[in-house]
Amino acid sequence: MFPTPIAQTGMPVRMLYGIALPLSLLIWLLPIIGVAMTSVRGQADLTAGNYWGWPTHWQMIQNYTAVFHNTPILHYIGNSFLVTLPTVAGAVALSCMAGFALGIYRFRFNLLLFFIFVGGNFIPFQILMVPVRDLSLRLGLYDTVMGLVLFHTAFQTGFCTFFMRNFIRELPSELVDAARVEGATEFQIFWKVVLPLTRPAIAALAVLIFTFIWNDYFWATVLIQGDHAMPVTGGLKSLNGEWVAQWQLVSAGSIVAALPPVLIFFLMQRHFIAGLTLGANKG
């Protein structure tokens, strides 16, 4: 292990580490702690210029009630779920199939197709913006949840296929050969042999894509206009415009908006990190 395990060092180093660790965590999370504190501050604190000190007026209930009552934040969050969940399902389904095709079969252009999916991942969104917006307008999907879902699904398919293909390729090929010998159809191989083995990859992908899509802001501003379909990132931006200088309310809104991915992250941390770090430990 590197660096030297702390247990093997002397007392002073251990003490120092024991102090440095929580302290650095505190400093690192200062911005987030700041938001959390602001979200429970009373207006009086802000008027008095107490933006960063310890709150003297606690208004947690009032602030959060105000956010839920006076703003469509719940509606925004609902939209975010309506966009995120189908996208996760769609992208995972498409990429399981595509990943299976690219990972199991050997055919001409296999690698070329794979590279197109991988490369598509890295292109700047802006090159897609005008035509995708146009396409959505023509399909009548502009400014609808469905339009956003379709685009996200398509785009995320690139990354997900890359991920699934690499995962499936690592599976022992004997499994597939054995199934063929037993007379399984190709679909059965996919459904009964390979898919069950990809469960950890699916979990990792699902968690990851959920976070990506939930936090998407760019496409929400490009493809959605009205509150009726606006996800919470875009919603937060417009709340910030309406509540200039009412930091406590924007903060409460931000906390509420950040909650779902944060919960998912803490509940499924292992999968999340497995997804994110795919390839970081093999070479």
């Binding site: 206009q225 009205g226 509150d227 417009s238 200039v244």
Partner: protein, 412 residues
């Protein structure tokens, strides 16, 4: 008999079916940018009255975020158009008119005699000799100032440029910033340019300039910046203004760290909410600069239009006629805290609106505002340039050269 009964029932169902059809046909979809509380309430009130007066019409309002609306309108005008849409007068509606996205409503104007009733806004609603919408409200711009601070320092509300400069010097000497401004969204800088140009060169020149007929490198534009220099160079504006939106610059004014604020009348409500009393808050028209120049003002006008692709143009016209009425405008503007355009409407009792009404009704002419009078691309470049100049007055010539490049490209 049996047959007759059957017939009757048939007739009844048909009538029912017809009436639901009619209800659908009589649905009027209005897209507004009335996301702020007062405009929202005003629109809800006018719709309620309209529905009461026209029971066969069912109105559906789609409210959009005020800023987002400015981009989304382009999409719904060309894709799924509502029947009525809110927008702004002047050149701001020109791109839509030129793209054939708005309906010519000259017929409504003729039928309701609006050329007389809405006289002050007639010019700004006319393009190519036709009317393209109906104005329902406007508001004045001017300098809001702290009466208490002026009284303490013995300053009289300035009427001329030298008086204004003297007042600024006095304030600055007392460590008070003369002017609050927030330019994170750049449009407040447009208000400054408008007023300086209107006072230095007058309305006609300002209209020529914003219509792209005069180069920005013109001597007369330089003259505007010479005056502007006299405020920027001594540091008479709030420092770091690009960090604040206009609302974020309000606390400095409310706390008395700044004594004046060139703004639209909509600023009065938040100023009062923040604790300023009427005896602390005064209003003064922008001082004169070039002597004997007829006085013109900025008065941005909000309007309603019918998209060319609207489905229910019949009821849309009824709505336009309704919103042009004196009683409707009295009621709406009572809620909005703004001025009705219809001259037969009841005039306001509010101190600041009264002052605004007096100022506007005696004005030589009304401009819309820089970002409504100039074409959008020009306005964007212009206000960016004004912001840059206000932060760094030495960049003046560079800014004007850049604006001239944009002008010669945009107004081909």
């Amino acid at each position: 008999m049996n047959f007759g009964k059957h017939c009757k029932r048939l007739a009844l169902t048909t009538a029912l079916a017809m009436s639901t059809l009619a209800a659908q046909a009589g649905e009027l979809v209005i897209n507004t940018d009335a996301s702020d509380p007062a405009p929202k309430a005003a629109f809800e009130a006018v719709v309620k009255d309209f529905e009461a007066a026209n029971p066969d019409v069912k109105v559906k309002i789609n409210t959009f975020d005020h800023e987002g609306f400015k981009t989304s309108i382009r999409n719904f005008l060309s894709a799924e158009a509502p029947d009525v849409v809110t927008w702004y007068a002047g050149n701001r509606m020109a791109p839509f008119v030129n793209a054939g996205l708005l309906d010519d409503v000259s017929d409504v104007w003729a039928k309701e005699g609006l050329s007389d009733k809405l006289k002050s806004a007639e010019a700004s609603m006319t393009i190519n000799g036709k009317k393209w919408g109906v104005p329902y409200t406007y508001y004045q711009w001017g300098i809001y100032y702290r009466k208490d601070i002026f009284a303490r320092l013995g300053i009289n509300p300035p009427k001329t440029w030298p008086e204004l400069l003297a007042a600024c010097a006095k304030l600055k000497a007392d460590k008070i910033t003369p002017f609050a401004i927030g330019s994170k969204q750049t449009w407040p800088t447009g208000g400054w340019f408008d007023y300086l140009d209107l006072r230095v060169n007058g309305y006609e020149f300002h209209m020529d300039l914003t219509a792209g007929k005069v180069p920005y490198t013109d001597k007369r534009v330089q003259a505007v910046f010479d005056r502007w220099d006299e405020l920027v160079k001594p540091g008479y504006f709030l420092a770091n203004h690009p960090s604040y939106m206009w609302q974020e610059a309000l606390p400095a004014f409310v706390k008395g760290e700044a004594a004046m604020y060139l703004m639209g009348n909509f600023a009065v409500a938040p100023m009062k909410e923040a604790g300023l009393k009427e005896e602390q808050l005064g209003f003064l028209p922008f001082p004169s600069i070039t002597p004997n120049l007829p006085r013109s003002e900025d008065a941005p006008t909000d309007t309603v239009h019918i998209p060319a692709k609207a489905r229910n143009k019949v009821d849309a016209r009824r709505f336009l006629a309704f919103i042009a009425r004196a009683d409707t405008q009295s009621k709406m503007n009572g809620i909005l805290g703004q001025l009705p355009v219809n001259k037969q409407a009841r005039q306001p009792d509010d101190t600041y609106l009264k002052a605004g009404f007096a100022m506007l009704s005696s004005a030589h002419a009304l401009a819309q505002f820089y970002d409504r009078d100039a074409l959008p691309e020009m306005a964007k470049a212009g206000m960016d340039g004004f912001q840059r100049y206000m932060l760094n007055p030495d960049s003046r010539n560079e800014v004007l050269k850049r604006l001239e490049e944009v002008r010669s490209r945009v107004y081909k």
